[in-house]
């Protein structure tokens, strides 16, 4: 039975799971979840993820939700397949995995939601929230700029899951009016150009209908 990803091709968090699967050169089946009709809150879906959110990955008997748990599960289970996303031993790796989750993601995901997704659903962008989140993200990216001046990738010299977890949100932000938050910082920009040139990412990006 193929690996199943329950999600949508434009979902930031589902893309995190799919990007990992592509790096591991694994085949999977994307099972779309119709959020607009509330499919994610129905009993059949809640049986997969009781928090009623996408993505969920089903691999044999394992049902995993929370996209960062999914990408780590894939990187671990399929360590020998495709690119190795886990470093040998790394405190820096765990630290920057958390940095993505607790420092980077809150501001950038909210920016993308305001600038890209709200208009798609006929909602009004809150410009004062945009400015507030942009300021937060800019301060966070100042730390990244200094870090990436000394490290080729966030966990050191090698591309890992810690870089991968950032990619969907950066891809989305670059399609928004706030792209310069990334492109104005030379080392952040160079890091993005390097990691987004990876064949597995190009495959993921090509599947995003935006």
């Amino acid at each position: 039975m193929a690996i199943k990803v329950y999600g949508l091709p434009q979902s930031n968090n589902a893309l995190r799971a799919m990007a990992a699967l592509n790096e591991k050169e694994l085949e999977y089946e994307l099972c779309p979840v119709d959020l607009q009709s509330g499919a994610h809150k129905k009993p059949e879906f809640l049986a997969l993820n009781p928090f009623g959110q996408i993505p969920v990955v089903q691999d044999g008997d394992d049902i995993i939700f929370e996209s960062r748990a999914i990408s780590r599960y894939i990187a671990t289970k399929y360590k020998e397949s495709g690119a190795d996303l886990l470093p040998v031993n790394s405190a820096k790796f765990e630290t920057w995995l958390q940095v993505e989750s607790s420092q980077f993601y809150p501001a950038i995901s909210e920016l993308n939601f305001e600038l890209l997704f709200k208009p798609m659903f006929g909602m009004t962008t809150d410009m004062s929230n945009v400015e507030k989140q942009a300021e937060k993200l800019s301060a966070v990216l100042d730390v990244y700029e200094a870090h990436l001046a000394k490290n080729k990738y966030v966990a050191g010299e090698v591309f890992t899951l810690a870089d991968l977890n950032h990619m969907p949100e950066i891809f989305l932000l670059l399609k928004s009016p706030k792209a310069e938050l990334i492109t104005s910082k030379p080392h952040v920009k160079a890091w993005w150009e390097d990691i987004s040139a990876r064949p597995a990412w190009k495959k993921t990006a090509a599947s995003i209908p935006l």
Partner: protein
Amino acid sequence: MGGVIVYGSPISTCTARVLLCLEEVGAEYQLVPINMPIGEHKSPPHLARNPFGQIPALEDGDLVLFESRAISKYVLRKYKESGTDLLKEGNLAESAMVEVWLEAESQQYNPAISPIVYQSLVVPKMRGGAPDQAIIDSSLEKFKKVLEVYEARLSKSKYLAGDFFSLADLSHFPYTRYLMVTPYASVFESYPHVKAWWEDITSRPAFKKVSAGMLGS
């Protein structure tokens, strides 16, 4: 003097998360206080440890880490010979469940509970301000929905990741501990399995010790 150095404060939620791990594995450590009220967390020496200017940070020889959930994993792996296995990295299915519920803590539980704790404890006691009841009320509604999921989960397994205590359970301690000293502690009465789980994990010696260093003990 051996062991690791933790820079932080015993009353800080994120520092407590790390201290719990150190206590669970019986590690030798030193807690160096960082004086938040005077802005020591934003001083150059601390920014050199944690460029985001937050506590805790951990120093182990030349290695410096920050982000309490990352430090927790580091500590648990370093001291896994102690016999306390809270990560289950030798078993893919079990470690995957630990990761799922660690993420649930970080992405579902924490965003709902922390505004309640912040408004009802931090704002009045540390910022001298008045709690924003609208934020508390809307966070409580979110939190109850999260607790429904936890209640269902804990009706089926003794701990979050399975029938074994893990970092996933431990990670929930600090903010829950603070909720328990607010009037909103009563929310747990409606979720008997969550309440029983809380009573179980807080009976662990490590929890009692770290709790004693926190506010309202």
